[in-house]
Symmetry: C2
Subunit: 162 residues, 2 copies
DNA sequence: GCTTGACCTTGCCATGGTGGGAAGGCCCAG
DNA sequence: CTGGGCCTTCCCACCATGGCAAGGTCAAGC
């Protein structure tokens, strides 16, 4: 009994080790919602279907979903994951390509981290200088309003208040 | 001709120190697009209009826009900026409220920074262990695929490569 | 006055990743 | 056969921002 080219029934497909979307979601930790989404945007190929239109996933499909999950958890954007998936399936890829992609992503992460750390430093500084009691006096609001009574506090060049 | 309660002409409004949206954008560094958006979502009150429907901004309005700009640059989400604006305009606010808000935001920043740093550490580690040459061998893809040859990194079930 | 170009108006679409929900069909156990 | 749990598609929302299009307005130069 060779491969059926037609759409199977659900029970039949299940007995052949295929999973419906809920199972695939459970196994891969990617929500059914997101699995459909990834299919929609072309990150994964269109799933096979049962006669009734239910999506079917092989273990290899689930494996791919786990790959995506892990890559997302490392912060890779979906577009880059698409490239990673291609490289993954290409046995003759050069590891240099993968490494370059990872390093580029690491640099982007580093840039965003640096931005947020700058915000954090400023906030910590402002909060430290705010007595935080019942008085209305507040260096934080003074800073936000551009009304800075004393001393430079923002790291970095300060432009005139325009 | 005492104070007009009706919509003025543009030139007239200008001569009274009001700004059209482009000027306000230039003065506040908030794009005209975003000024309209902030009005739309209620972050700022509806602007006055000329007879032709052009928005008009006073210096105080521009000052408020600069406040928003600065708060955004510190990463405050728009909702919190709404609260900050209220506190700013309330002369009897307690600085403790402002400080609490700033500190809460700082904590959220810290949490996101920590997440991203964890990603970055993993990426750096993987990239360091990837020779990055023409060979297909790649610890980065091995990790993403859950196939980790050496060093216990994640023990997950392994699916076949289809 | 009329043309021209810069500006303004509203409105819709897109980003990116995720969740929520509605309306309707399918499957299996009782 | 019925009920409940799954599946399907489609739309909406978040958050902040930009872009584009079609049409009105204003000011300057001829």
């Amino acid at each position: 009994m060779p491969g059926k080219l037609q759409r199977p029934e659900l029970g039949e497909a299940r007995s052949q080790g295929l999973h419906n979307i809920g199972e695939a979601a459970g196994l891969s930790q990617v929500s059914a919602k997101m699995i459909r989404h990834y299919e929609h945007i072309g990150l994964i190929p269109e799933a096979a279907r049962t006669m009734a239109g239910y999506r079917l996933y092989s273990d290899a499909d689930v494996h791919r979903l786990r790959f995506i999950k892990r890559a997302r958890s490392l912060g890779f954007p979906v577009k880059q994951i698409g490239v990673l998936l291609q490289l993954w399936s290409d046995r003759s890829r050069a590891s240099a390509e993968v490494k370059a992609l990872a390093q580029q992503h690491a640099r982007e992460l580093a840039a965003r981290i640096a931005e947020m750390q700058a915000m954090q430093r400023t906030l910590d500084d402002l909060a430290r200088r705010c007595h935080g009691d019942n008085r209305p006096d507040c260096p934080i609001l003074d800073d936000l309003s551009g009304d800075v009574p004393d001393g430079p506090r923002r790291a970095g060049p300060r432009g005139p208040l325009r």
